[in-house]
Point group: C2
Chain length 222, copies 2
């Protein structure tokens, strides 16, 4: 199966959009809202219309593992045996489409094309997860952070005119939980990148790539 290119774009016709709209509920949530908890019974799948969501698991040690950050047009909330396998929380204020499972299931089974788009979406999520494991395979914190910023840059490419500006809506702690680093290491890696003159942080949630060539070298040094 090949994902649609660009994979973020849902390609549905008018009838399909209408059918989806009929079962979808649009919800607006403020930052930090917990959308669902791990192990709770899964009633819906979600699609991000706007804003940023994180999916994570709480470990008994108190450590948290962020599995993914989700942006506009991403889907999340896939369950296993009727229960969510992780926790989802809004990072910014978000707008979501809530798709009740029973109705979505019927719709998908009935409409092969729509389900195919859905399949492409899930495949995309799988791809993202694999990309993350490549990032984590790096030993050095600076390299990991650079690759992370690279991922975020790629993602934001479509919606910003200035490619050198990279929005980082999440906290250092979230980044650490995603990269498998302590938040201190993330912070140190960030200052290291600044001291090299590779990037500059403008506020906590924006990075500017000052030396694209050096940055690319760093990212590619896997």
């Amino acid at each position: 199966l090949r994902t649609s290119d660009p994979p973020e774009q849902i390609l549905l016709n008018e009838r399909q959009r209408l059918q989806l709209a009929q079962i979808a509920m649009r919800v607006r949530l403020p930052p930090r809202t917990v959308i669902y908890r791990e192990s709770s019974t899964a009633h819906s799948v979600f699609a991000v219309a706007d804003g940023v969501v994180k999916c994570f698991r709480e470990l008994r040690s108190g450590k948290r593992v962020v599995g993914a950050f989700l942006f506009a047009n991403d889907i999340f909330g896939l369950a296993e045996n009727g229960r969510y396998t992780n926790c989802a929380q809004a990072i910014t204020s978000v707008t979501l489409y809530r798709l009740p499972l029973p109705q979505l299931t019927v719709l998908l089974k009935h409409d092969g094309d729509m389900q195919f788009q859905f399949l492409a979406k899930v495949t995309h999520e799988l791809r993202q997860a694999q990309r993350r494991t490549v990032v984590i395979s790096r030993r050095d914190a600076v390299g990991r952070l650079a690759m992370f910023i690279g991922l975020m840059s790629e993602r934001a490419a479509g919606e910003l005119d200035d490619r050198s500006v990279v929005p980082l809506p999440m906290t250092r702690s979230d980044i650490g939980d995603y990269l498998g680093l302590s938040l201190e290491s993330v912070s140190r890696a960030a200052t290291a990148l600044e001291k090299r003159g590779t990037i500059r942080f403008e506020g906590r949630h924006t990075a500017r790539i000052l030396d694209p060539a050096g940055f690319a070298r760093l990212v590619a040094a896997v």
Copy 2:
């Protein structure tokens, strides 16, 4: 969407099996056979009938990242923009079903139920990838190896009568590439587990859990 339980089992009726069989090619491959390479054009999706396959990526540094080990009833070979995103190689001698993409696509779009099963499979792969990231989030090599053996034990639960025996068909190097550890660290972790009396290795490719309670504690200490 909920995965079928058990998620490994494809639930198809007779007609669907026949349709799949019509487009599938059964192939037997000896160990170490490269099934496809990264970036090569994707013509087929594969399903494992028997044996073990690894999916991995080669990094420029020479390091390898194993993204997944695949066993009977697993699928692999999902492409992105028509190209494989990783390399697949047989670990043992394997039997595969090769499903040519054009025909599979038509079949899936046409048969909503079958596609739904396929979707469940992909979701399962996604789940596995997420499970792996939790394993890697652990700092200590011994804990990572223990969790890995736990994963392999779970997987083998259905096909072996003795739950304490865990087959590990892959090499230490493969395990290291999966766990983000050097093969030396894997080896040291293995001997550490033996010295604790938690497990014992019988040959290179079999582990026996001697102290299930202690083992479970170790695995749960995440």
